[in-house]
Each structure stands twice: as structure tokens, then as C-alpha cells.
Symmetry: C2
Subunit: 142 residues, 2 copies
């Protein structure tokens, strides 16, 4: 999972809050990054149908009330990412040794299991939930 995920979530929470057409510049300012990066991520969310992209003068991004029901799992899938990814594989598939040739697949299975589990949890969290946490949080005595 790259930082595009928190960026996308942040943007959706912000857009749900404003409810209006919001330019990448304003999003970038709130998120604390640059507009081009925001646009790159918003383009993906738009392609996945999670945000409206308005073009021309006065353009920007917008999303409606239905966004509150969007899950974080859906957001992550829109970015075509997985919670956990491991590019390096130990061992060598072509070795005689069962350990050297087998560890890669074994570990892949473990990552797969962890990823499925994480996705399940992310599917249970919505943009609306986070908005609540931010705006309606009861004061807690730490």
C-alpha cells in the first residue's frame, strides 16, 4: 500500500465535506502535497466512479452524499493496490532443493492470506465512518 491510499481517503473525506466542485490546488493544500499528485490519484478515483471530474474553467472534483457509503476497500481497489506487497522472493524456483524452490510460493500464500484479511477489514470501514470520527467525536478522557 503506497501513500496514494491515505491521500485518496483524505481527498474523499474532504470532498464529501465540501460537497462542491473543488480544485486539485485546494485539495493539495489541505492534504499537504502538490496538485499534480492529487490529480493523478483523483483521476483513478474518477475512473472507478468514486468522484466526479469537472473539466474546463471552474473545474475540479466533486462527490455527493453516496460517497459516505464508499468503503476503504473500494478505495484501495480503485488505486489497484494491495495492503501488503513484497517484490523480493527468497530462493530460486529452479533449484532441486525443496526449500529454495518452494519458499517463494509459501510466502506468497501468506501475503495473500494477510491481504484478504486486511481487505475484509477495510471493506467494513466507510468514508462516512471516518467523517464521523473527525467531526462527531465525543471528547474522551485519555
Amino acid at each position: 500500500m503506497t501513500a496514494e491510499f491515505p491521500l485518496a481517503v483524505h481527498a474523499l473525506v474532504y470532498l464529501l465535506h465540501t460537497g462542491r466542485i473543488t480544485p486539485s490546488q485546494e485539495l493539495a493544500d489541505n492534504i499537504c502535497t502538490n496538485p499534480a499528485r492529487v490529480r493523478k490519484v483523483m483521476t483513478k478515483l474518477h475512473r472507478a466512479g468514486l468522484a466526479e471530474s469537472v473539466r474546463g474553467q471552474g473545474s475540479g472534483y466533486r462527490c455527493g452524499g453516496e460517497t459516505a457509503a464508499v468503503t476503504l476497500g473500494t478505495v484501495l481497489r480503485s488505486l489497484e493496490e494491495e495492503p501488503l506487497s513484497m517484490s523480493w522472493r527468497s530462493g530460486d524456483m529452479d533449484r532441486e532443493c525443496l526449500i529454495s524452490s518452494g519458499m517463494g510460493a509459501i510466502m506468497d500464500g501468506i501475503y495473500g492470506q494477510l491481504n484478504r484479511q486486511c481487505m475484509e477489514t477495510l471493506e467494513s470501514m466507510t468514508i462516512g465512518d471516518l467523517t464521523h470520527q473527525i467531526f462527531d467525536r465525543k471528547k474522551e478522557t485519555t
Copy 2:
């Protein structure tokens, strides 16, 4: 989680299998990496009590049958890693805006939850389990 994790798991499976003092060179060959990297990881496992480190001539690493019961969670903790880590934080703690100032903590909470969940799963898997998967796997018709 960095690639030190699969490397460490691979090394422990290999050492459990050989049962003898095994030099970093041999481990590196089986894992397909270099001896210095292996030693760096093995030093951590040794410090955590997961492997014996023998010094001097004919030295190397060894671990006994008790290693079969070591969980992958314990391995990951020995490396002082977490399943999922995110260095980048969106927003700015010092802003008035509740979204900009709050998103960092909200997302940290989510990563924390995912990490606890992954650790729980990793605690349920042992080096012995993987050894079984590798050596005693029944032939399956895919």
C-alpha cells in the same frame, strides 16, 4: 514489512531442516542473496534467542527442534518490524481544519488495527507449519 522477513523465515526453515551449524554463505546461496545480508538478519534472530550463533573456525548458525514451534509473529517482532508501515502522513496537525489536522491520526488508527490483525494471524503460523507445507505436501490436482 521489509524483505528481511521472508529472508529470516527462509533461514529458520533451512536451519531447522539441516539441524547443523550452517554458515551464512550456505544460507545466502539457498536464499539467493549475499552472506552479509544474511548475517545482519541472523544477528537479530540470535539476539532474540531464535538461533544459536557459533563463532570461530567452523562457525555459523544453528537451531534446534524447538524452532518448529516459533511463530512467524515472533520472527517479525524479532526484526522489530510491523506488517504494514506508512511513513507519509496527509494533512497538517497544526491546521484549524479538523480534516487536515485529524486525518493523520485517523489513518494511523487504521494501520494499527490492520497490523494487530495481521500479527494475530502470523502468531498462528509456525516455522514447523511451513516445513510441513514444503516437505509433506500431499499432491494436489490443480
